[in-house]
Each structure stands twice: as structure tokens, then as C-alpha cells.
């Protein structure tokens, strides 16, 4: 798989480590309580199809990306800097 890094162009997915669903960017407010955090830490949508997910460019520029990928075909549909996604509030 090749990931279209927004700054570095196409990079081999082997340079990255995978974390999981990009919803992990939305850490709940401390007021969410135990139930809210248990949801955040453990539960996943786990969709078959388009999935927004976090990849870390560990052997590259060490940026976090939000990659949009189809879990049925492994087709990669796009990649953004996680920072931009977070600051834009669209994760």
C-alpha cells in the first residue's frame, strides 16, 4: 500500500505504524466519566468499507496522518495531516 503523504508524496505503508480509527482523535472530556472513556478506549465502529484511520510516519517525518482507506479493497482514498484534521474539528 502506498500512502499519499500530504507533504512527502507517495510513501510505502511500511514506513508507517498503524494506530486505528481516527475517532481516537476525539478524546472525551474528563466529565464524560468512566462509561465515556470505556467507549472511547475499547469500542470501535470497525466498518467494512471506507475507514478513516491514524497512521504514524515513524520512519519518515514522524507526523500523524488521517488516512481514508477502504477496508474491503485496501484502496487508499486520501491522507491528511492529523493536526489539520484535529484543528479543523472534522475527525
Amino acid at each position: 500500500m502506498l500512502i499519499p503523504h500530504p507533504l512527502l508524496g507517495l510513501r510505502d505503508a511500511q514506513e508507517f505504524t498503524y494506530l486505528g480509527d481516527a475517532a481516537l482523535l476525539n478524546r472525551p472530556d474528563p466529565a464524560a466519566g468512566e462509561a465515556g472513556f470505556a467507549d472511547y478506549v475499547y469500542l470501535r465502529d470497525n466498518p467494512a468499507g471506507v475507514h478513516r484511520e491514524l497512521w504514524f510516519h515513524e520512519q519518515g517525518d514522524r507526523s500523524w496522518l488521517v488516512v481514508t482507506r477502504n477496508t474491503l479493497t485496501h484502496e487508499i482514498l486520501g491522507a491528511e495531516l492529523a493536526r489539520d484534521v484535529k484543528l479543523g474539528g472534522t475527525a
Partner: protein, 416 residues
């Protein structure tokens, strides 16, 4: 009709004209007492035990494809009960005991072969932890042997003992572990369940649940609506997808695991050897192929196929462990859907929907669990109480902080 040595000879002499289909191909009825979703090993075993041990015969197994098309026909067939924790080990030992009498119970050759498993040791710390695991295994009657380097060398002389990074210092062995014919297991359970009146319905995909007032009434399928008193879901890698139709989110991600087989060779690998440090394990099939694998690819996937980096990684692991493998030619590689739970242990429990039961989160280790999983899931479906060996496999254990962190890695959902 039963299988026997006599019958095999008789058929051989009469042109094999007397064999018939092993199970019926019934049309779905309008209503069952219990509907099992997923005709993999676990779904079929559940139906078998429901009929056999709990007297439930108005049972259907709904399979979206064909029997043996899922992980039950894709795994590397290793069976073992060498776990550590009290929440797990008695369950896997129950499974091992079922394997030991499976062929007699089912009157079907599942080719259970107790050729032993060896987990390799590379350091003193690892020997200590394996000794502890061995003690825990002995407490449940699973049996364990700690091998020193010389004993190991006699059994498997071809390993690279002096690898600079991971020198081999010994191994933990379970002699009762081994392999079984994976799709034969599905066929054996299907045939035995069918004989007791269970309807096995293939090409029947569940597309939704009918839930009224928090109680499940039946399932929508590609072959029409089927009513059910209770519904048990055992769809392994498709768990997230199927349970989402009942409005549930699970502590599970679906990943892909690959496996590999070489051309047939003369007997060379005596049992199963695992090289955890190098993400590699291997055994030899009865046909002679070296069957091996390694780590999951590591990203969410429903594709049932993996990518090249892991193939390279597994090949490197194999070369590091036993350089002679470099001479073997790879015949095939394939992938299956892993239902990776957040602590690496399974879930067998009721759900917030009344009458809906869930069995999943098997990760890469559900084949060995097939008989026990069927047994305890049938127990839960029939009695509404968990089986004694499965009380820890609860769906809410994550929220309650009662994880079964078998790897000793702590409550870390990202470490499976």
C-alpha cells in the same frame, strides 16, 4: 450412515458408489427455537452441542457462503491448551479434551494428530515466564515439559541455535497439542448436527435482526425472514459488521492474518514449533507441506487477503529460525479475517438485546477453541447461564476493568 474401516474397504471394492451427501440441504423453516448465525467451526459446533447435550433440535445454522469458506478452512490447524490465566486455561483444556475424543464422538475423521507443540526460549527471563506458564498448565491437567537446549536439539536439530539476536536456549512443550484437519472439523460437526435434526442452511446471509421492545424475534436473510426464539451470533471476523445490525458496537477490530504452505516434502518437522520472538510458527501437514505463518498485517481489513511486507517478514522469520527452509518452494499464501478483541481473549456472552447472544473476538486462536466454544455457547443459549469454564468471557469486562490480559501486556487495547 456411519463410517467404519469395514465400510471404506467395501466402498473401495464397489467403485465408491455408496457414498451420499453428508448433510441435507433444507429450505429454511418459518420459525426455529434457536438460530445460529455463521456456519464456521464455532456455529456448527454450537448447533451440535445444543442438540447433543441440551436436547435442542429445532435449531438452524445460517451461513452466508458455503461451509468451510471462512476461517475454519483458512487456519493453520494448531490445537493446544498452553494458556496461562485462570480465565482462559480451563476453557482451552476443556477444548483439548474434546479434541481427544472428537473422532469417536462425531464418527468422523478429523485427523487429530497430537504431535506436540514447542514454544522456543531465548533468554533466562523467558524461561522463568514459560516455567510459570507450564505450572499453570499442569494445574489444569494440560501437562507441560520444560526442555533444555540439549533435549531440544535432539528433537529438532535443524534450528539455528546460535542465532546472534535470538539464540535458542530451550523450549516449553505441550505433548498433547498438535493439529487437526480444519475443514474436516466443520464437516464432522455439520454431519453430526444434521443427523440430530439441525437445519444447516448455506447461501443464506443474515441482513438484519427483527428486534421488538428490546427482544429479538428473528432475522432477516437473503432467503427471507426467519423467526427465532433466540439468536446466537458466531461470525468471527464479521462480528463488527453483523452486530452493528443490532445496534451494538464491539471491543473488536477486524484484521487480516496470512498463512503459507510449501510444496509437499518428506517428514521433517516433528510437531509445531513457535518462534514468538521472530513472529514465526511452523508445522508440517499430513500431505507434507510446511504450513507456517506469523503476525497479522496490522491494519483494519475485511479483504481476506494481505500485503507483501508481512510475507517478507514471515519469510525472514523462517530463515532466521531454520535456514533450510530457504530451499523449499512456496506453493500458496492466503488470508483470513481476524476478530481481534481488545485484550486478545474471546467474548461469549448475552448482549443488551434480550435473546441475542454473541460469540467472537477469537483473534488468531479460535480454531483450537472450536469444540469448547460450541460447548459453552450451547450451554449459554440453552440455560442462560455461562458455563463454568467461560465465566470470564464477558462482553462488559472492558468497561468493568476485568480484562483477560493473557500476554501480560496490561490493559492496552492496541497491543494484540
Amino acid at each position: 450412515m456411519g463410517f467404519s474401516g469395514f465400510r471404506v474397504i467395501k466402498e473401495a471394492l464397489t467403485g465408491h458408489k455408496g457414498w451420499g451427501p453428508l448433510w441435507r440441504d433444507p429450505a429454511p423453516r418459518a420459525q426455529y427455537d434457536i438460530v445460529i448465525v455463521g456456519g464456521g467451526g464455532h456455529g456448527l459446533a454450537t448447533a451440535y452441542f445444543l442438540a447433543k447435550l441440551y436436547g435442542r433440535h429445532r435449531v438452524a445454522v445460517l451461513e452466508k457462503g458455503w461451509l468451510g469458506g471462512g476461517n475454519i478452512g483458512r487456519n493453520t490447524t494448531i490445537i493446544r491448551s498452553n494458556y496461562l490465566l485462570p480465565g482462559n486455561q480451563p476453557f482451552y483444556e476443556l477444548s483439548m479434551q474434546h479434541w481427544e475424543r472428537q473422532e469417536q464422538d462425531l464418527n468422523f475423521n478429523s485427523m487429530v494428530s497430537q504431535r506436540g507443540i514447542i514454544n522456543l526460549i531465548h533468554s533466562d527471563a523467558q524461561r522463568d515466564s514459560f516455567r510459570r506458564r507450564g505450572n499453570s498448565m499442569m494445574l489444569t491437567g494440560a501437562g507441560a515439559r520444560l526442555l533444555d537446549r540439549d533435549e531440544l536439539r535432539q528433537m529438532v536439530p535443524f534450528l539455528n541455535y546460535d542465532n546472534a539476536r535470538f539464540p535458542i536456549k530451550g523450549g516449553l512443550m505441550q505433548t498433547r497439542a498438535g493439529t487437526a484437519r480444519h475443514d474436516g472439523v466443520a464437516w464432522g460437526y455439520a454431519r453430526a448436527a444434521d443427523q440430530m435434526g439441525v437445519d444447516i442452511i448455506q447461501n443464506c446471509e443474515v441482513t438484519g435482526f427483527r428486534i421488538e421492545g428490546g427482544q429479538v424475534r428473528g432475522v432477516e436473510t437473503s432467503r427471507g425472514y426467519i423467526g427465532a426464539g433466540k439468536v446466537g451470533v458466531a461470525v468471527a471476523g464479521s462480528s463488527g459488521r453483523v452486530m452493528a445490525m443490532a445496534g451494538l458496537r464491539l471491543p473488536i477490530e477486524s484484521h487480516v492474518l496470512q498463512a503459507f504452505v510449501t510444496e509437499g516434502l518428506k517428514p521433517v518437522i516433528p510437531g509445531v514449533i513457535t518462534f514468538g520472538a521472530g513472529h514465526f510458527y511452523i508445522s508440517q501437514s499430513d500431505k507434507g507441506g510446511l504450513v507456517f505463518g506469523g503476525d497479522i498485517d496490522g491494519y483494519n481489513s475485511y479483504a481476506q487477503r494481505g500485503n507483501l511486507p508481512v510475507i517478507e517478514d514471515v519469510a525472514e522469520g523462517g530463515m532466521a529460525l531454520m535456514p533450510m527452509i530457504g530451499r523449499a518452494r512456496l506453493l500458496r499464501s492466503w488470508g483470513g479475517l481476524m476478530d481481534m478483541s481488545m485484550d486478545g481473549s474471546p467474548i461469549i456472552d448475552r448482549t443488551p438485546v434480550e435473546g441475542l447472544y454473541f460469540n467472537g473476538g477469537w483473534c488468531y486462536g479460535g480454531f483450537k477453541a472450536t469444540p469448547a466454544s460450541g460447548h459453552v455457547f450451547a450451554h449459554l443459549l440453552a440455560t442462560d447461564t455461562p458455563h463454568d469454564t467461560a465465566t470470564a468471557f464477558r462482553l462488559d469486562r472492558f468497561a468493568r476493568g476485568h480484562l483477560i490480559d493473557e500476554r501480560g501486556a496490561g490493559a492496552q487495547p492496541n497491543l494484540h
